[in-house]
């Protein structure tokens, strides 16, 4: 099919025989920015057949969970969006082995509900677990505050299945928590944003849930003192998460409008009691510590935090010690994962030129600190020519191009929106 014929009606005719008419639909909401037609296969084999059809007719395809990621990074819709909504089974959960296998369309909320009775969870806490499908979480490298103690998808994913070029159904890893057989395809797929294949199944190691959760908060008059206190606390006691919020973000989280240190910790009742007594000794008496339902509710607010008033959100990453200096350039609204060297920066610039300059300045600064800045959300009016990803140095970029060609020789997997235009 030549590109001119890639209109939704023709696409529907091409894929109806594979997935059935009933499993095709027009995109809606965020999906409108991702794809022209939504195709919902019911199995990896169907996906493989769709992939082969796409490759032979040069139809571009993009895997879509809730559409949150691709709606931001695609400047034009792909031909078809692969919805994993029908592939949402939990394939196996072994509480005593602490592993779980789920199809790519299962959501984090569904997994955690299945594990709750055994006091376990998959300790990745990106915003809105009920919207977070496993495939999208892995491919989009989504994370939350608990990355400090538990790591991210790249640390917890122990097995992956995906449909690759030629419709090959490929797997890497397995179902055991320690495994070095073969190349690490889990790392390859994590953060690949759908550009190398369609993830169909994921296997994770899971963790016990802490019996008690505490959240400590403390106000500061400036950013530098909050980061200093964060480091002191981090060096003194084991923490599960550690943030510094700028005043507007603190206010939006329901705290006083000041620079605020937020520290999560927990464990057994004995550990929680100890931490509750110990943290004020380190930070000073005017820190506030919440436990129980209050702490859980705050963790959810922090996890789901979204600064609706902003026109764009950036994700900055540097070595942790470099982050305060980078954020000093921004002013305004940001939420820093202080122990991880990652910050969500919320900008409210309404003119494209101003935004471009700001992103450029931050990128220069971040590169000097061997870090980088990504645009993770942006209002459509400003999407224009903004580069979503920073540019890797030439030798790394060459390898990435080779990686893309090796995994996607026909260039159909979510092309044109990843680093360097891959």
């Amino acid at each position: 099919m030549p590109p001119a014929l890639h209109d939704p009606a023709n696409l529907a005719r091409a894929f109806a025989p594979i997935v059935g008419e009933a499993n095709l639909r027009p995109p809606s909401g965020a999906e409108l920015r991702c794809a022209k037609l939504m195709v919902a296969p019911s199995s990896a084999d169907e996906i493989a057949e769709v992939v082969r059809g796409c490759e032979s007719d040069r139809i571009t395809l993009a895997p879509i969970g809730a559409g949150r990621t691709l709606a931001e990074i695609r400047s034009a819709p792909a031909d078809i969006g692969i919805s994993l909504a029908r592939m949402n089974r939990i394939v196996a959960y072994e509480p005593d082995d602490m592993t779980i296998v789920a199809e790519a369309g299962a959501t984090l909320a569904e997994l955690d509900a299945a594990m709750a009775a055994h006091g376990q969870w998959l300790p990745i806490d990106p915003p809105r677990p009920e919207l977070t499908a496993m495939g999208a979480m892995v491919a989009g490298a989504r994370f939350g505050p608990s990355r400090l103690s538990e790591g991210t998808a790249r640390d917890l994913l122990i097995g992956v299945r995906f449909a690759g070029h030629g419709g090959r159904l490929v797997h890497g890893g397995g179902r055991v928590v320690k495994n070095v057989a073969g190349y690490d395809l889990m790392k390859v797929m994590t953060g690949s944003f759908g550009t190398l294949g369609i993830i169909t199944e994921t296997t994770f190691r899971v963790r016990p849930r802490a019996a008690r959760r505490l959240v400590a908060t403390m106000r500061f008059s400036d950013a530098a003192s909050s980061f200093r206190a964060a480091r002191t606390l981090h060096d003194a006691v084991p923490l599960t998460h550690l943030e510094v919020a700028s005043p507007p973000v603190a206010a939006a989280l329901g705290l006083a409008e000041e620079f605020t240190l937020i520290a999560g910790c927990g464990g057994s009742p004995v550990e929680a009691d100890y931490l509750r007594a110990r943290i004020p000794e380190i930070l000073g008496a005017n820190c506030a510590i919440a436990g129980g339902a209050e702490a859980d509710a705050f963790h959810h607010r922090l996890r789901d935090f979204d600064f609706a008033a902003s026109s764009a959100e950036l994700l900055a990453a540097t070595a942790p010690a470099e982050l305060p200096a980078l954020l000093a350039e921004v002013g305004g609204a940001w939420l820093a994962f202080a122990g991880s060297g990652v910050a969500r920066i919320f900008l409210n610039l309404r003119a494209a030129g101003g935004l471009d300059r700001m992103v450029g300045a931050l990128r220069t600064r971040a590169r000097d600190a061997r870090g980088h800045v990504r645009v993770s959300r942006i209002i459509p009016e400003l999407r224009g020519g903004i580069e979503i990803f920073d540019r890797p140095a030439a030798p790394a970029m060459n390898l990435m191009r080779r990686m893309k060609t090796a995994f996607d020789p026909s260039g159909v997997f979510n092309p044109g929106c990843f680093v360097g235009g891959l």
């Binding site: 072994e94 890497g172 179902r175 320690k178 084991p238 931490l275």
Partner: protein, 482 residues
């Protein structure tokens, strides 16, 4: 293809390489090269034709450009402690050893990062930061000798990876010299990756992507305190059931290691470590974290062990008792050397609830093959290390040792496990790869490898069996029959 044969390593090539690294960094005399004929997988042997010991990434880059132009394959080597024949030259005449690249380049406590050259010995990283209350978490039992480059190539683990993760969880960035001589910096001190996780793909690639020259690693804060328990059992069944009981109770110890009777006796003969000679198995269980909670936790774990059948649970009373336990564990492989002229350390994984079953299976296999097999391993991860004793002068026993090892791996796979938890595929397990990976999986993995090494000259004939080839372990010389 023979192990070295038809290479273009003529005197002109050697002269070119000599000019780059200097006389003192080149070894070409066969008697001296014999030292490099194997790693810890001693069943197969094959010395390189030339050994280079460069001092920098720039030298390695110049060397690889020469080898690339002359189409000469090479094999990287760290300390040679690998256990799967990873640095055995198979069709690679030149060995490049990183032992001179052993500087710790920068320590950033505020960011918890350390930047090292790849030839740095694992334990030296921890030694450099311990005083400030930090450590480098992956702690292979060989950590006194093995290098960070070798750890990266194998994605090594160790006793404490149960709680703290394996090498890949601690490598943020690396510098690699690609087989064409280009130097690439991948990842960096930031946790978030920009673009594909190339550094993540290279960790565990067993030296087939190029030569890693530098790495940025994460440092971990020392726990406040530790409690180290020795749980003593009549047999391995009760010991392995204890492992599941502890994990099911929601306790994640820093480490749970197991030793069976054969190993206990070997350790006692060699070091008089104070382990009970009449025990069928012991577990070393280490808890770490907030001091205030540890005594209660240790009591809980001791109770779980007793309930599962431990006849006694001892608590190390001080640092010297703790050190003695760990010394016994970490030197166990060495102690085994006294039991037989040779031994092969296997490395398989099962879901940890299947440990009792796999140990029964191993005992049955030992009996079937008339071999002695000891077990000392990372029980908390389900990562078994059966140690098969044999005498390489006895061809039949050697053959039985290899066959028994393979049968153990097949049993692991049948229980939903894997061929290797931390030692790598190397040459040892290539033939078993199709047990867990389909032809399509292997094709895609070779494509990934060729992203870094299109001509497959970095550590050739490893990890992935050539399609349609029949790989035959013909100890002590490897034949790759194409």
């Amino acid at each position: 293809m023979a192990s070295s044969g038809n290479s273009a390593l003529d005197s002109a090539a050697v002269a070119e390489l000599r000019a780059i690294v200097g006389d003192d960094a080149i070894v070409s005399r066969p008697t001296e090269l014999k030292v490099y004929e194997c790693d810890g997988w001693t069943i197969e042997k094959s010395a390189p034709e030339l050994l280079l010991r460069p001092r920098s990434a720039a030298e390695i880059s110049a060397v690889l450009k020469v080898l690339h132009r002359r189409e000469i394959p090479f094999v990287p080597r760290g300390a040679g402690t690998g256990l799967s024949g990873g640095c055995l030259p198979v069709g690679a005449p030149v060995m490049i050893c990183t032992s001179r690249m052993n500087r710790i380049l920068a320590i950033d406590y505020a960011s918890r990062r350390v930047e090292v050259e790849s030839g740095v010995v694992n334990l030296h990283v921890t030694n450099a930061v311990r005083e400030r209350g930090f450590f480098y978490a992956p702690d292979p039992s060989s950590q006194m000798a093995c290098t960070i480059g070798g750890n990266i190539a194998e994605n090594s683990g160790g006793p404490h990876t149960l709680k703290y993760g394996v090498t890949t969880n601690h490598v943020l960035g690396l510098e690699i010299v690609l087989p064409d001589g280009e130097i690439a910096e991948l990842g960096g001190p930031a946790e978030e990756r920009l673009g594909y996780d190339l550094a993540g793909a290279i960790v565990g690639a067993e030296g087939t992507a190029g030569i890693v020259t530098r790495a940025i690693l994460k440092l971990t804060r020392e726990p406040e305190e530790r409690r180290t328990l020795l749980a003593i059992f009549a047999g391995v069944g009760a010991a392995t059931r204890t492992v599941s009981a502890i994990i099911s109770a929601g306790v994640i110890p820093g480490a749970i290691e197991m030793m069976d009777r054969l190993i206990i006796e070997a350790v006692e003969d060699a070091f008089h470590a104070g382990l009970p000679r009449d025990a069928g198995a012991v577990l070393i269980i280490e808890l770490d974290g907030i001091a205030a909670a540890l005594d209660a936790q240790a009591a809980e774990v001791a109770e779980l062990a007793r309930a599962a059948g431990a006849r006694e649970v001892r608590l190390a009373r001080d640092e010297s008792e703790r050190a003695a336990l760990w010394k016994a564990r970490k030197r166990a492989f060495g102690a085994v050397g006294r039991l037989a002229p040779n031994y092969a350390t296997q490395d398989g994984v099962v879901p940890r609830t299947r440990l009792p079953e796999i140990l029964r299976e191993i005992a049955a296999i030992a009996e079937r093959y008339s071999l002695k097999i000891g077990n000392v391993f990372h029980a908390g991860d389900g990562n078994i290390h059966p140690i098969v004793l044999y005498d390489e002068r006895d061809a039949d026993e050697t053959r039985r040792a290899i066959e028994a090892g393979r049968e153990i791996l097949r049993a692991c796979v049948a229980m939903g496990g894997s061929l290797t938890g931390e030692h790598g595929i190397g040459v040892e397990k290539m033939a078993e790869m199709p047990l867990i990976f389909s032809p399509d999986d292997l094709i895609v993995m070779s494509e990934l490898r060729r992203v870094f090494d299109p001509e497959q000259r970095a550590n050739p004939n490893k990890v992935i069996p050539a399609p349609g080839s029949c790989v035959e372990v013909a100890a002590p010389r490897r034949q790759v029959v194409l």
